[in-house]
């Protein structure tokens, strides 16, 4: 069976490992064998976003060393994939050999739903859920990668599930990495709006493809609307039985 290399974001590794487990489960269900390169740490986004390019470069080189020979790399995070695809080549532009390797790796990295639908041509993961769900279009998934129909196809294939529309579903939830803690007034205001739109949609569950968004929206729900749930697409499809830990 074809092997696919798992790229597990640090947020998932440290705080939301069940998303990683669900990713493994889904890839197996779709007929590929996930392998996990030990030694993977972080894509480098935190450093990149804060302007620490020298440090981000180190993360980039480490990643390329580790994943450089893999034909396919799949991650349950759009922002991490964007980091590798869009920023690694830019970061390493002044080192020709690394630049070439970065371009190679950039071609081979995929966000999970993108890989399942566009490459493996799978939309029905065999899941079932009775109820209404809404989908939050994470910024890096939607605008960074142009991925939007894929998650929705996967959600719509879940038996018993109705995908309802949500106001301003493509608006930023206010995470933005360090932005959320450095500009809490603005960030809180944004996540408040996002949650209100979710509540107004009438959905029982909010699905998304970005661990950062999940920590943010989930964190706000936990504090203010514990009865409402948010879940990563991978968990929803794999039906681990547990949503975002409370």
């Amino acid at each position: 069976m074809k092997e696919v290399s798992l790229f597990i974001p640090c947020t998932v590794d440290l705080f939301l490992p069940l998303i990683g487990e669900a990713t493994v489960s889904l890839l197996r269900r779709a007929g590929v064998t996930p392998v996990y390169r030990r030694g993977q740490t972080c894509c480098g986004q935190p450093a990149m976003n804060s302007g620490y390019r020298k440090e981000a470069k180190k993360a980039a080189k480490h990643f390329i060393e580790l994943f450089g020979d893999d034909e396919v790399i799949v991650s349950p995070s759009g922002s991490c994939v964007c980091m590798v695809k869009h920023h690694y080549p830019e970061l390493l532009a002044d080192e020709p050999e690394w630049s070439r390797r970065a371009a190679e790796v950039a071609r081979r990295v995929y966000e999970l739903s993108q890989y399942l639908v566009d490459v493996l041509n799978v939309t029905d993961m065999g899941a079932a859920y009775q109820g209404k769900v809404a989908y939050h279009e994470s910024c890096h998934v939607l605008r960074g990668l142009g991925v939007s129909t894929q998650p929705k196809k996967l959600i719509s294939a879940v038996k018993g599930t109705e995908l309802v529309s949500m106001n301003q579903d493509d608006f930023c939830c206010g995470f933005g990495g360090e932005f959320a803690s450095h500009y809490p007034d603005i960030s809180e205001s944004m996540v408040q709006d996002k949650v209100q739109n979710y509540i107004d949609s009438g959905a029982d569950l909010l699905i998304l493809c970005e661990p950062g968004c999940l920590l943010n929206i989930g964190g706000y729900l936990s504090r203010h609307h514990p009865e409402k749930r948010a879940m990563h697409l991978a968990n929803f499809l794999a039906q681990n039985g547990r949503e975002m830990p409370r």
């Binding site: 590794d13 939301l16 972080c42 450093a47 302007g51 608006f171 932005f179 803690s181 500009y183 944004m190």
Partner: protein, 477 residues
């Protein structure tokens, strides 16, 4: 105008809390955004039109010196006078002296952000020449001594009650009313006198066409046309980057600017000046002076990445869609320019040290980039400025970052490339983080990410991280 870019966080906090602004902020930017979508849909291929606009602006910026020279040559041949100003000071001194020499007691003004940037109004007042902002929104904020809330609609957040009170207090109307139409007409009556008697008009410039030496202004109200018709002297102020290669390019940008701004096919008035009035014309300026202002832009131009910020055509599409702008409005940005376009431009004009929050208060959502008709990549520029700031680049006036942050990333960079450090780091920090956990949730934690916990929880660090669990997971089916 006073610069308060360093007060961003404090001002943003106030604005978020202000109940008054928020219902407005919920409605108007969104309504403009919807209008924009509808306006662009009237074009056979909106995406191609936007891409074409980006190509025009990219070419204009990349051919800047050559186009400026051509513009000057043609404008001068048309009979206009061109004055170049290196600094804000040179520009405003020139205009004030000219107005003085012409014996102007007052000046009527069209909306022009560069005249705000150079502090023209204060300079005129200081010399006993009264500047009258005639664009309704600018007029209102001028009377209220307020900064602009939005680059296109500077008073758009001011409630009608406050406008009524202002107009009554200033004698602009005699009968109180809350009807926006009646308020507008009161302002019309009041300012009409100024248009009638004006001898010195000051306008901005939307586009300076190199091919023909023509300056172009877009407006809906008519005050710019008045400033170009009634007075004997017209001064039109532009920054370097307003230049556009050809008239056909200008027509395309007119279509894009009008739609991106407010969903209109075209503004009510587009006036195109190629020199002063000619013999026999009974109105129009006897002298047309075009002031070309640098004020730091030739410096910005040295950097091929940063110069893309100069492509901006001031449509405000980025403001209307920006989730940060929609939470805080224009005041928090602290100067003439707000929203994402302000965030890419002000750090270059004022220095990275004076605008630390301006390019950091962004979640990098990319909505701005997705709507920009000039093809500006705002998020890429923010990342660029942040990296220049960290490396304390002198030409951009980067600042030294807090030592804790620098240290954190030093440590982080060691951990990301050496798995054993990463792994050890996790084992060591986990108990400290998780001791804050109550019933499987962290409600509060002191330290660097303290801001998070005001309104949000966090899950505890997993007892077994994914990499610690992998051997187990591998074995399952």
């Amino acid at each position: 105008m006073k610069i308060s870019t360093e007060k961003f966080t404090e001002l943003a906090k106030k604005e978020v809390e202000k109940a008054r602004a928020r219902p407005f902020l919920k409605m108007v930017p969104h309504s403009l955004y919807q209008k924009r979508k509808a306006g662009l849909a009237t074009l056979p291929d909106a995406a191609a039109a936007q891409a074409y606009g980006a190509a025009i602006r990219s070419e204009a910026i990349n051919r800047l010196p050559e186009l400026l020279e051509e513009f000057e040559k043609k404008a001068t041949a048309n009979g206009a006078k061109v004055f170049w100003a290196r600094t804000a000071k040179e520009a405003r001194e020139y205009i004030v002296n000219l107005a003085s020499e012409r014996g102007a007691k007052f000046v009527i003004k069209g909306k022009s952000m560069v005249t705000e940037e150079i502090g023209l109004n204060e300079a005129l007042s200081d010399h006993g020449i009264e500047p009258w902002e005639a664009d309704l929104g600018e007029f209102i904020i001028q009377q209220m001594h307020r900064p602009p809330f939005h680059i296109v609609g500077p008073a758009i957040n001011v409630p009608v009650e406050e406008i009524r009170d202002l107009f009554m207090a200033k004698g602009i109307m005699k009968e109180p009313t809350l009807d926006p139409v009646a308020l507008g007409w009161a302002a019309r009556r009041f300012l009409r006198e100024k248009f009638h008697r004006a001898e010195f008009g000051v306008t901005g410039v939307n586009m300076a066409v190199a091919e023909t030496g023509t300056i172009i202004n877009l407006e809906n109200e008519g005050n710019i046309r008045f400033a170009k018709s009634s007075p004997r002297t017209q001064v039109s102020v532009m920054t370097l980057e307003k230049v556009v290669p050809t008239m056909k390019d200008a027509m395309h940008l007119i279509r894009l600017l009008s739609r991106n701004c407010s969903g209109q096919n075209i503004s009510a008035y587009v006036s195109m000046d190629s020199g002063p009035k000619q013999d026999g014309e009974i109105d129009g300026p006897e002298e047309l002076i075009i002031v070309i202002v640098d004020n730091g832009r030739s410096g910005i131009y040295q950097d091929p990445k940063a110069r893309d910020a100069l492509r901006c055509i001031r449509c405000a599409a980025c403001l209307n869609i920006c989730p940060v702008y929609r939470q805080i409005g224009g005041y928090a940005y602290g100067w003439v320019y707000s929203g994402p376009m302000g965030q890419v431009l002000m750090p270059l004009l004022l220095g990275l040290d004076k605008t630390q929050d301006i390019y950091r208060a962004c979640s990098l959502c990319g909505a701005c980039k997705s709507v920009c008709p000039a093809g500006i990549d705002h998020p890429a520029l923010f990342l660029y400025y942040r990296s220049l700031d960290v490396s304390t680049d002198h030409s951009f006036k980067g600042k030294r970052r807090p030592w804790r942050e620098a240290l954190f990333f030093k440590a982080w960079s060691m951990a990301v490339q050496r798995f054993w450090i990463w792994d050890t780091g996790i084992s060591v920090t986990r108990p400290f983080i998780n001791k804050n956990s109550e019933n499987g949730v962290i409600h509060n934690m002191k330290g660097a990410f303290g801001g998070w916990f005001r309104k949000r929880d966090l899950p505890p660090m997993a007892e077994k991280t994914f990499h610690e669990k992998w051997e187990e997971i591998k074995k399952t089916r």
